[in-house]
């Protein structure tokens, strides 16, 4: 006890309660921390102070949320309900204190952290760029359960609060102030002054506007709920993501009565939490933490990155590194080849940084460098030129002598084995692959490509770098396609085969989104570019059990490359594919879905058997973050274990019988079947 919080009182009657979890970078509302918080509140209340200020002792955040790790261990709804009722009690005690309370928020204030802040009478947020407030609960398959659904609707108004909880998005401090979530958004230097002022003056709180209150009346709630459901349906179908629908029902039924609403939170959130969807989403969240933790083993921090290749990949990697604070030199054969990368980077910076000074600072750190003067300064050199082994090797011969001795040389190749590329290097022990995905700004995963000889500290350093630029590192073995492209390609090729057989593109995509993929394979292929799909498919011919389908080759020959050319399998108008309504019967859709997903899963099993990744969890994480594989299913291997390997194996055998060897179950299934016995 008495380790999470410090109490201070400086003679003016104001108590400062500082949340500072020992040995951690961020504060998390664990059960222990909550209990200590409660004891502290009791003691503080007994001293009858003028007011209480709750703040964080962490440099980078207030409270990151409730303890997700503990969520994963909860097995029964009763257990969850006990936790929630206890949190309700504690936060109600905070809310009922007779003196004013202020939450001083800087950095992340999410989920349970925001719910705690909402139980204070006032909230002040710092305007630093990394301050964020929000309810990410729906992304974990639940909704706010520590009184958040009650207090947020009361404070912000029904529609604003519901939108915030349903979207799971987080707010910038100024937006939070506009929506009434915080009383003030101020520069960090004014937080303490403002807290004192609020405690001494005790101004009346803000009330939501009339129309927001009207929307919460019993008369209008059913209509509002119907509208919300319609909006949610576009993003998340009910059968895959029950939480937002449960939240809407909860609100519609109980928003008129606070006690009912608390009771309903305590009833519904435990059900959701122990349900399959939430448990799988929590699993994926924790897998992400696992990937992040690999970086801990290294002290490597790149300050200067040199990127060779000013095409879309090289340019976007360079821009992303700059955005994350690094100095980057970008090299190509002439300055005229770097203009597009500079303008794309400028657009990215404007979108992400907004502030003109930050944008200028970023532009100053992105240095077009056609002479390669940055090579001698860089801690990490990333090669992203066209896929040609000889060109790459010639480049390495040229640049390696100009690099610092301890600098890392990384290739962004997606298809050439590292064992071949690394031949002839003076320092092969500083060489590996960093495989980024397109579009770099959106794709969270980076494959760290290694051979059997890659030293562990190099992998750790590359993971550290990947984390430093805010991406997820996944170490993979250098075999064609690595992990993500390799499992994605059979899935895409099966989709093209279906097209070849005359199935409508809309039906194929619908089959995949019905399974839970974020985007159908035909649309995905068009988005990636059919030329790129074809080139990857050709490099993976062996694994695909056959050539790339003719249909794909023909499109590419006709110059129909997908979204970028306006015509692929779909016709694209203003960045959207034009498609008919799906027409196939449900069982036909299910069959198409099986064919595509089973090929993906079968390939995943092969990757696991070949040791492309360290284990089944890494495989699941890589495929979820690399391909968007239905996250609520917890990853392909988890899905197989849940549904039973036997079942998938049987289906594959049947498909092999009907459609041929591309469905032949991989040898890796034997192991899975054995485990199941």
């Amino acid at each position: 006890m008495n380790k999470y919080f410090q109490v201070e009182e400086n003679g003016d009657g104001i108590v400062w309660l500082t949340f500072d979890t020992p040995g951690k970078a961020a504060n998390v509302l664990t059960a222990d921390a909550l209990e200590e918080f409660d004891t502290r509140l009791v003691t503080i209340a007994q001293s009858h102070p003028k007011g209480l200020v709750i703040r964080s002792g962490k440099e980078r955040g207030f409270i990151a949320g409730a303890d997700v790790k503990a969520f994963a261990r909860i097995s029964t709804p009763q257990e969850a309900q006990e936790l929630i009722l206890r949190a309700h009690d504690i936060l109600r005690r905070l809310e009922a204190l007779s003196f004013p309370t202020v939450a001083l928020i800087h950095g992340f204030c999410l989920g349970g952290g925001l719910e705690l802040a909402l139980a204070c009478r006032y909230r002040i947020a710092s305007t630093e760029p990394d301050t964020r407030l929000g309810f990410p609960e729906v992304r974990l398959g639940i909704f706010p359960g520590f009184g958040g659904s009650v207090r947020s609707t009361r404070l912000m108004g029904h529609l604003a609060a519901m939108e915030l909880m349903l979207s799971g998005r987080s707010l910038h401090p100024r937006a939070a102030q506009r929506l009434g979530l915080v009383d003030h958004a101020l520069p960090r230097r004014q937080l303490n002054n403002a807290a004192r002022h609020l405690i001494l003056e005790q101004p009346a709180g803000r009330r939501p506007p009339l129309w927001q209150r009207l929307a919460g009346t019993a008369l209008l709630r059913p209509a509002a709920a119907a509208l919300m459901r319609r909006q949610v349906r576009r993003r998340a179908p009910r059968k895959h993501y029950p939480a937002p629908y449960a939240l809407i029902d909860h609100w519609r039924r109980h928003a008129g009565h606070m006690a009912d609403m608390y009771a309903s939170e305590a009833r519904l959130v435990p059900q959701l939490l122990t349900g399959k969807t939430a448990q799988n989403l929590i699993r994926v969240f924790l897998l992400q933490d696992e990937l992040k933790s690999q970086a801990a083993a290294s002290e490597f921090h790149a300050r200067h990155v040199h990127v060779v290749g000013g095409g879309v990949m090289g340019g976007d990697i360079a821009a992303w590194c700059v955005l994350r604070g690094l100095r980057v030199t970008l090299q190509d054969r002439g300055p005229e080849l770097l203009g597009r990368a500079v303008s794309r980077a400028h657009q990215l910076f404007r979108k992400k940084l907004r502030d003109q000074y930050l944008v200028r600072d970023a532009m100053d750190r992105l240095i077009p460098d056609h002479q390669g003067n940055g090579l001698g300064k860089a801690d990490l050199v990333i090669e992203a030129i066209f896929e040609d082994q000889e060109a790459k090797q010639a480049l390495y011969r040229n640049i390696e002598p100009r690099m610092k001795d301890d600098a890392i040389l990384a290739t962004n190749t997606s298809s050439i084995p590292l064992q071949q590329l690394g031949q002839g290097l003076a320092r092969p022990e500083r060489f590996l692959g960093l495989h980024f995905f397109n579009p770099v700004a959106k794709m969270p995963l980076v494959e760290i490509v290694t051979t059997g000889d890659t030293p562990g500290d190099l992998v750790a350093a590359a993971s550290r770098f990947t984390r430093d630029i805010g991406k997820l590192p996944l170490p993979v073995r250098s075999r064609p396609g690595f992990l993500v492209n390799r499992v994605l390609m059979p899935y895409l090729m099966e989709a093209v085969t279906l097209l070849d057989k005359g199935v409508a593109a809309a039906d194929i995509d619908r089959a995949a989104t019905d399974f839970g993929m974020p985007m159908g394979p035909v649309e995905l292929a068009d988005t990636v570019g059919l030329d790129i799909c074809l080139s990857v498919a050709e490099k993976l011919t062996d694994m695909l059990h056959g050539k790339a389908p003719d249909k794909l080759r023909r499109r590419v020959e006709q110059g129909h490359l997908g979204r970028k050319s306006g015509q692929g399998f779909y016709t694209w108008v203003k960045g959207r594919p034009q498609r008919e309504k799906p027409t196939a019967a449900p069982d036909a859709l299910a069959q198409y879905g099986d064919r595509m997903i089973l090929r993906l899963i079968n390939e995943a099993v092969a990757c696991l058997r070949e040791g492309i990744v360290a284990g089944a969890d890494e495989l699941d994480a890589g495929i979820v973050f690399g391909t968007g594989f239905a996250p609520f299913r917890g990853g392909p291997m988890h899905y197989v274990r849940e549904e039973g390997a036997e079942r998938f194996f049987g289906k594959l055998q049947k498909l092999e019988y009907t459609y041929g060897e591309r469905f032949a179950p991989d040898a890796g299934w034997a192991q899975l079947l054995e485990e199941e016995q």
Binding site: P335, E336, L338, G339, S343, H346, R360, D364, N373, G374
Partner: protein, 437 residues
């Protein structure tokens, strides 16, 4: 050569390591794609990339700039911070009109010579296309009254006082190119010199044409490798000085009308320096710094002199500034391998060349026993100058020193003289020696 009294850099050596400049971009019409600090950062970050030290290892940053933007107060500090020099590298901006860039080099050299600094980034920058357009003072007075007025009646009264003439914009660029004491525009001071020395329109145009021809030849030979290409935020590449007119002919030049003394003057847009945006920067170092970082040395700053003269004849500034250096070192024109004298106006540079060999002028104006030898044409501004590539006022001083060093290196020559005339009636000159002593 013996040390000569009055020479600031003879005791402690000041080395020039290397330099870069931006292309010089014509400043016509709307503000150009780069502010003055953008230009300087664009050139200096490339220069620093090629150096074996990090920006934060510099001791200080000194830039010359005649008129920085409203968001660039003490522009040298803005440049230093934007280059990633960090909080601790201090910076100052210097202003000596057209020689501000050379003043920055002199100030940097003085800091090094006095032992106060070892490693300095110095240069000049000017975005003439961003020089402000201001309100007339009468308009400012009226606005002050308007903001004090209360109520409909007072506002209506103020509105009646507003005269259309108040709305006439004040173009700072044009005001800056007008002498603030005698009221002559720079072009008019050139007309004065043409009259004094009997320089014909044809001689002026012929000189201007040669400036363009020389720049064309230099470009074709790839002699301008100190230029770093710039990308604007739309990704457009600016790789070359864009004021160059390769198709210029004497006939075309002859057709231009005089712009400063109409209608009978001889100074035209064609035989004057172009108004451009640009920046140039160099690394200056002490012997200590050269040794510590094992820096390659491009040359040495031997001497610098500033001179004052009649503002209405400011174009003769180079003669006044170069002569004392020549005397201090016991040199005549044939001892200098190459010359860079900034081309503000054909008339002005031709007047300098004539004055340089004019016995009467040298005796009377410079107190010399006799005139200097002729400065050979093929040793002066060999790769073009302000007339063909423009004169971004704050930057030119640094640009000519940098280019002079490049010429000396290319021709394997030793001594060079760089000089500029300065609006307001001054001249500045620097003696440069290639190769470390």
């Amino acid at each position: 050569m013996k040390p000569v009294p009055g020479n600031p850099y003879e005791e402690t050596e000041v080395f020039i390591i290397d330099g870069r400049r931006t292309p010089q971009l014509k400043a016509l019409g709307p503000p150009g794609p780069f502010h003055a600090s953008d230009l300087a950062v664009g050139a200096a970050r490339q220069l620093l990339l090629a150096m074996p030290f990090e920006p934060r290892e510099l001791d200080e940053v000194i830039f010359g700039c005649v008129s920085s933007g409203p968001d660039e107060a003490n522009i040298a500090r803005v440049i230093a911070l934007r280059l990633g020099c960090g909080d601790r590298v201090h910076a100052m901006t210097v202003q000596r009109n057209c020689a501000s860039g050379m003043q920055a080099l002199d100030s940097a050299a003085a800091r090094i010579a006095s032992g106060q600094a070892d490693l300095v980034l110095a240069g000049g920058t000017e975005a003439m296309s961003h020089h402000p357009v201001m309100l007339d003072e009468a308009m400012v007075t009226w606005l002050a009254g308007w903001s004090k007025a209360r109520g409909l009646g007072q506002h209506a009264k103020m509105l009646r006082k507003l005269k259309p003439a108040y709305l006439r914009p004040v173009v700072a660029l044009l005001r800056g190119l007008t002498d603030p004491v005698v009221g002559l525009s720079m072009g008019q001071t050139a007309e004065q010199l043409a009259e004094d020395f009997g320089i014909s329109r044809e001689a002026m145009d012929r000189y201007a044409l040669r400036s363009h021809q020389r720049l064309v030849a230099a470009l074709e030979a790839g002699y301008l490798d100190e230029i770093v290409p710039l990308h604007d935020s739309d990704g457009k590449l600016h790789a070359q000085d864009d004021g160059l007119r390769p198709d210029s002919t004497l006939e075309k030049l002859a057709r231009l009308k005089p712009v400063f003394d109409r209608p009978f003057g001889k100074v035209t847009a064609g035989n004057s320096a172009q108004v451009t945006d640009g920046a140039a920067c160099l690394i200056l170092a002490s012997a200590r710094a050269v040794e510590r970082y094992d820096l390659p040395v491009l040359g040495r700053l031997r001497d610098c002199h500033w001179a004052g003269l009649e503002p209405g004849r400011m174009g003769l500034g180079p003669v006044h500034a170069m002569a004392p250096i020549m005397q201090r070192h016991g040199l005549d024109s044939s001892d200098i391998d190459y010359w860079e004298i900034n081309e503000a106006f054909s008339a002005q540079i031709l007047a300098c060349l004539r004055a340089w060999q004019d016995e009467d002028f040298c005796r009377e104006a410079l107190d010399l026993p006799r005139a200097f030898q002729l400065i050979p044409e093929d040793r002066l501004n060999v790769d073009g100058g302000g007339i063909s590539l423009g004169h971004p006022v704050g930057a030119s001083g640094a640009r000519i020193v940098l280019h002079l060093l490049k010429v000396l290196e290319r021709e394997n020559a030793r001594l060079g003289m760089a000089s500029l005339c300065i609006g307001g009636g001054q001249g500045g000159a620097m003696l440069i020696e290639r190769s470390a002593s």
